[in-house]
Amino acid sequence: MKTNWVLTAASWLLGFLWVMPLLYALWAAIHPSEYATHLSLLAPWTGHNFAVAWAAAPFPRYLLNTFILVTLVLVAQFVLCTPAAYAFARMRFPGREVVFAIVLLQLMVMPDVLLVANYTSLAHLGLVDSILGIALPYLGSAFGIFLLRQTFRQVPQELDDAARLEGSGLLAIIWRVYVPLARPTYVAYGLVSVSYHWNNFLWPLIVTNSVSTRPLTVGLSVFASTDQGVDWSVISAATLMTSAPLLLAFLLFQRQFVQSFMRAGIR
């Protein structure tokens, strides 16, 4: 059919436009500097830019910081949000709806917006320039509580009752009945959380001011803004390098990623 060919061509054109900035950065990163702005089929390949970037800034340390940060956030969110979600999903207590509504407020007013007040709190706690300080505002997550509550509500009440009859305590019921059945939700929420905190920038920029705490995003901005003589090849290499672990994870778990975002989004 004729129209279908037009649509297909248009789709491909859009797709090409979409990857072009990325391909351009990739081009600059894998060729010598003199070819960065000069597209030529004869340009030789090189890993030189990556080596220069890797050596010019403490990227291994930044990578470690980001890794600690996302792990800390993820584990704490799971541990904190699971019991809260269970309470909202399966327990009856006065004021439940009101408290839940208060929690949901955070979906609209995120800590990202309350920079100044949160920084003041961190200063009082003496946690400025620490990885825990970057993580702290995000640990009690309304999104996580909401997502898990929705999942827990779909667990058959009979399983809960059966475990109770066998004499299991509350925490044991949550751990043995609810957590295993909610595994897909944990995967989905985990991927969303990891990619969010891997990519987060403004808050870590404010909180950190030393190499031992800076995550990759802040490290990259420090690297690119200090005088590198604006060597775009090296900056492109550094940029791709810092995004690579997440991109690689995405390519490996593409299906789960896409499904997670769908699961997390359709609410």
């Binding site: 900035p21 019991p83 800590p111 309350l114 100044v116 404010i206």
Partner: protein
């Protein structure tokens, strides 16, 4: 108190305490700070009433940031949502290279905004950047994309659209795939054209998704300013100063916490109004399923 109540509160308290400490408490503290002066040296903050807000009324940069944010939102949101829908429709069909195409659309979403800003900074470089090279080859002159007040904000809008459209595409794709195929068959039996079917069947059924995506897009338009920090610092001449960036600048560069608090209150009021809209339009059904 009943045992269940006690247990429920024990389960809730750790998460709730952190949540309140870093969302609700700072919101209240911000309101208080906005009504006080900035503490300087030995002089602690004192009550000044609405003076900080009165000062904002005389601050042309504040109005510029508000206006910029409005333009930014009003341009970014519809363009990225319409593109997201087009992308979802494109990769929902049996098209050659569908997986590659879907990845091309989705990849920018996975990158940190700061990495994206670097890539586009290079892309936008006057004369040497790919954009100027392509336009130069087509006979257009050089452009100072980020240095020209008329071009800077649209340039940032393009970056935001590039990052967000693929993200929203995912939600449309999920919704499209959950539409019963029977509908398409019925449409075909009735002789409905593709365009007619899209307009009269698909789009109305996608309305809940569109509302969800819209709310997300609106929040992001006020929340994400990483690219401003890297690409323009709000310049040239405040042409790309957005509200949250102005808060960041006021609070952490100029150390004027009182004004930053007043600005934050303005942002909170905007977000609150949007939340009200969300609860009103989307209704309880979406949140309390």
């Amino acid at each position: 108190m009943r045992r269940e109540t006690v247990h429920a509160w024990l389960l809730l308290t750790p998460a709730l305490a952190l949540l309140v400490a870093f969302t609700h408490w700072p919101a209240v503290a911000t309101l208080w700070d906005s009504l006080s002066s900035t503490p300087r040296g030995a002089r602690p903050a004192h009550w000044v009433g609405l003076a900080n807000f009165a000062a904002l009324m005389d601050d042309p940069v504040f109005f510029q940031a508000l206006w910029n944010n409005f333009i930014y939102a009003i341009a970014t949101i519809p363009v990225s949502v319409v593109l997201a829908l087009a992308m979802a429709l494109a990769v929902n069909r049996a098209i050659p290279g569908r997986a590659a195409l879907r990845m091309a659309f989705f990849l920018p979403t996975m990158l940190p905004m700061i990495a994206i800003a670097n890539i586009w900074l290079f892309f936008y470089t006057p004369d040497y950047g790919l954009l100027d090279q392509v336009l130069g080859a087509l006979g257009f002159g050089r452009h100072n994309w980020l240095g020209d007040p008329a071009l800077a904000l649209p340039s940032l809008i393009a970056v935001a659209v590039w990052k967000e459209a693929g993200f929203f595409m995912i939600f449309y794709l999920a919704a499209l795939q959950s539409l019963p195929p029977v509908l398409r068959e019925a449409g075909a039996l009735e002789g409905a054209s593709d365009w007619y079917y899209l307009r009269r069947v698909t789009l109305p059924l996608l309305m809940p998704t569109t509302l969800f995506v819209l709310v997300n897009a609106v929040v992001n338009a006020f929340r994400l300013v990483d690219h401003v920090v890297v690409m323009t610092h709000g310049g040239p001449d405040n042409a790309t100063n957005l509200l949250l960036y102005y808060i960041y600048e006021t609070g952490f560069r100029f150390m004027d916490t009182a004004t930053a608090a007043a600005l934050t209150v303005v942002l909170l009021v905007i977000l609150g109004a949007l939340a009200g809209f969300q609860f009103g339009v989307l209704g309880r059904r979406v949140y309390y399923r």
